[in-house]
Amino acid sequence: MSLINYASREINCKLVYYGPGLGGKTTNLEYIYEKVAPASKGKMISLATETERTLFFDFLPVDLGTIRGFKTRFHLYTVPGQVYYNASRKLILKGVDGCVFVADSQMERMEANIESMQNLYDNMAQHGLDLTRIPFVIQYNKRDLPNAAPVEQLQEALNPGWPVEDPARQRPLVDPNRPGEMLIQEADGVWVERVPHFEAVAVRGDGVFDTLRAISKLVLKTIG
């Protein structure tokens, strides 16, 4: 629900980083905060426990500047990943314009990833939103770890695709970020769509801006 404020000439879009606990959502925001030019970023707010686990959310506003007369800003939020903070997670999703799912690539976190993805879908549905119809990308984080599952396996579990029902969209769509890979394709007579995915090592910043760039562009397309 991006808000276009014609009075103050502002457009604000809400991006939410979702995913299992300790997956790297806060690390993504911290890296963005560290690297974005001071003039383009606001204050980063973290409501965290004493052990630096996210309690409610992290928040970082990033200004894109004035575009065609509108001051355009992204509000980046993370949710607390731990399972028992679901009430807080649901609140943060209110009014979301785009979502990044930060998956933990480690083999032993596969179940936690799947559970969190299901939880995201359910919480969105409770806000009357369909995850398959809003801007959404997946980031496979911690690719540097020796116990990281192969991307194909993560894709199969977390991004298996859903049927494309709209006939107008039933045509091949190449993944602009991965030449040779498809976002929409036909398999056994059924058109299937997957969301864009990115590999990352958020502590080093690898893939962090690729992910942010992709979700920001998808969100802006829904406004224009």
């Binding site: 629900m1 974005v36 065609r68 509000h75 609140l91 009357g128």
Partner: protein, 163 residues
């Protein structure tokens, strides 16, 4: 179910709301009135220029109100229609408007909570009517951004976030 929708806030809305909030501040002898939408975005600020970061303030206000909403439900209440945060010098009074917007009044020792509450109650009714009409309008086909906005925004994204 559908994807996310947008709504807009026009200049004439801002003018009417500004007039209402200005008279609230005068009558309640309060310092600043802010309107924040439930998703955490600042809609309007009237009165003394706040000394804090308004973007962060809006995000925390929405979170505060939402968390308290859930607490209310746990008690079997539909909502807490208003919240009060008392400081040594400055205090905040927050009130729900049409379930989509939060009115925040910042005041100090020059007035009393009772007076602020009383004046807010009146203005909330008028604001609710105004916002309800605004939300009803959202499906009626709004003017959107100019053509070329998306291309230009994409260029800015590439510059800011690296291409």
């Amino acid at each position: 179910m559908s994807g996310a929708s947008s709504w807009s806030f026009r200049e004439e809305d801002a003018a009417r709301i500004g007039a209402l909030l200005n008279s609230l501040l005068r009558e309640a002898n309060a310092r600043t009135a802010l309107l924040v939408d439930r998703t955490g975005q600042m809609l309007a600020t009237v009165g003394e220029e706040p000394r804090f970061d308004p973007v962060a303030f809006a995000s925390l206000t929405a979170a505060d109100f939402s968390a308290n909403d859930q607490l209310a439900r746990m008690l079997g209440e539909n909502e807490f229609g208003a919240l009060f945060h008392q400081g040594e010098k400055d205090s905040l009074y927050l009130a729900d408007v049409a379930r989509r917007v939060i009115l925040v009044v910042l005041f100090d020792n020059r007035t009393t909570l009772g007076l602020v509450k009383l004046r807010v109650r009146g203005v909330v009714e008028e604001l609710s009517a105004l916002f309800t009409a605004m939300f009803a309008r959202e499906t009626a086909g709004e003017p959107r951004v100019e053509t070329g906005f998306v291309d230009e925004a994409e260029d800015e994204i590439d510059k800011l976030f690296g291409s």
